[in-house]
């Protein structure tokens, strides 16, 4: 695997691989000196064309804990202001020297295009409505740690599915790990077609909640809300917001998740976000070791030389130590 552009690049075996490696990096992160020299001399560039706090900080922390050097590119202070194209920017970054480029852009497919141009490993940190694979990996890891396994679990993804790259990546990852997924949203916030999506659909949150192990609440993306898809936010909150009454419908063991940043009082009630069964903070905490695992797999494990981890054994004979 050279790039991580989509959950499809990993498949269920690849997801397992990342999650197993994440355990090692959780241990590293728990040390008094949470740093290992694994990626010494490598450079990781974050190329963010869209605002982000947690994803960018999480990737940079991950790179630094692996002893990689980091460069940050933020649109506001760069030559993009002078009209530089993405292609020229990528060429510039490569000329300076980069081993991995972490890309976020508001248009779907930009990371894939960057991967065509760049010789560095490209990691998709969110592109338009398409995918956000590392978010799906950290969500999957968080669920696995809390519930043991995803096999046979029932997960509801609630809210603005249409504009959500998190939903698209998560549906793939949850399905690959053996969970069943129900989307709960008004019809206007669902994609026009769900052909081939391994999901059920419900428009009634109250009847779905008692049956789920995970209630995954999505952010109402007001910045992507140019068309009037919901009459008012208040009406949305009334029908699809996870308030305290609805949270009480969840089973004792069920957990509440949110990819952040939360609109408290819109899609999730402030009190629900802070309950004991809310794992929102765990999700953020797990983001760093999961991204360490992704960076290490792409840059340090040797998988870039050998195509896949599975072929290690056969390739190894020639490089006997």
């Amino acid at each position: 695997m050279k790039h991580l552009l989509s959950i499809d690049d990993l498949g269920s075996a690849g997801i397992d691989e990342v999650l197993a490696l994440t355990d090692s990096f959780v241990e590293v992160s728990s040390r008094s000196i949470p740093k290992v020299p694994a990626l010494r001399g490598k450079t990781v560039v974050s190329l963010f064309y869209e605002d982000s706090t947690r994803t960018r900080m999480s990737f940079e922390t991950a790179a630094k804990r692996l002893s990689a050097d980091t460069m940050t590119f933020s649109v506001g202070t760069s030559s993009v202001k002078k009209g530089e194209s993405i292609r020229d920017t990528v060429q510039t970054i490569e000329a300076i020297g980069a081993d991995a480029i972490v890309v976020r852009h508001r248009s779907s497919g930009v990371p894939a295009q960057v991967a065509n141009w760049a010789s560095a490993a490209v990691i998709n940190a969110g592109d338009g409505w398409h995918e956000h694979p590392t978010q799906a990996l950290l969500d999957t890891y968080t669920i696995q740690k809390r519930l043991g396994s995803l096999e046979g679990r029932h997960i509801a993804i609630i809210g603005d599915i249409k504009h959500s790259r998190v939903a698209r990546s998560n549906i793939k990852a949850f399905h690959a790990m053996g969970a069943s997924v129900t989307l709960v949203a008004p019809s206007t916030l669902l994609p026009p077609s769900l052909d081939g999506w391994p999901v059920e659909v419900s428009h009634d949150l109250d009847s779905t909640l008692p049956t789920v192990d995970v209630a995954y609440v999505l952010r109402m993306q007001r910045e992507r809300m140019s068309e009037a898809l919901v009459p008012t936010l208040r009406e949305y909150t009334e029908r699809f917001g996870l308030n305290s009454r609805r949270a009480d419908l969840l089973s004792q063991t069920a957990i509440v998740m949110h990819p952040g940043p939360m609109n408290r009082g819109v899609e999730i009630d402030a009190a629900v976000a802070d309950r004991a069964n809310s794992v929102v903070v765990d999700q953020v905490r797990n983001g760093v070791p999961v991204r360490m695992a992704v960076l290490f797999l792409l840059l340090g494990s040797g998988s870039e030389m050998f195509g896949s981890i599975d072929s290690f054994a056969s390739e190894m004979e020639s490089v006997r130590v």
Binding site: P37, L66, S301, G302, F306, E317
Partner: protein, 188 residues
């Protein structure tokens, strides 16, 4: 003789074919018992001694050595395990992945650390382990115990406690397990 699948530990994949048994399980047990006494003699007891096994071959040996020490001295000895994958000097030259999660739940500052591994070969794993240990604190001393020293060092590293010195050819393979120590080769 024994045929065993090799995992991703050196020499990485293939099947190990044993040619001769070098140590029986009893031999190993006696060697560990002797090494336990040497540890006590060298450190005048086991105050401050902690045992850390290297993943994966050193971990069961570390456990056995600690049990012997506890039986002789009648005190609890902290035991940990260390995976050195992230500290190897050949990252980027060959596939490197950790095999298990490191588990060192005690502070190393001021302790005497006895590192335990099954086979001492090039010394590169031990070099990585020494680097890793410094991230856990500053031990007073680090000592090295190995079941087999097979030679061919590439770094100035020597063991403090040795189960058996075993002259080998570079292309041979040594297998240490509950069934004893075997010398043989790895074939695809």
């Amino acid at each position: 003789m024994a045929e065993r699948e090799r995992g991703i530990t050196p020499p990485f994949g293939g099947v190990f074919y044993a040619r001769t048994q070098v140590m029986s399980p009893d031999d190993m047990q006696r060697a560990l018992w002797r090494m336990a006494h040497e540890v006590i003699e060298r450190n005048q007891g086991v105050d401050n001694v902690v045992i850390i096994g290297l993943q994966t071959g050193g971990v069961p040996l570390a456990q056995l050595l600690a049990e012997d020490l506890q039986q002789i001295e009648n005190v609890e000895i902290p035991v940990g395990s260390l995976d050195v994958a992230f500290y190897r000097d050949d990252i980027g030259l060959r596939p490197v992945l950790p095999e298990a999660v490191t588990d060192i739940s005690f502070d190393l500052a001021g302790r005497v650390v006895v590192l335990v591994d099954d086979v001492l070969f090039t010394g590169r794993t031990i070099r990585a382990a020494l680097d890793a240990l410094t991230d856990f604190g500053r031990p007073r001393a680090v000592q090295l115990a190995v079941m087999v020293d097979r030679g061919h060092r590439e770094l100035p590293i020597r063991p403090d406690y040795v189960g058996k010195n075993l002259p080998t050819r570079r292309d041979e393979a040594v297998d240490v397990g509950p069934q004893g120590v075997d010398l043989g080769e790895v074939r695809k």
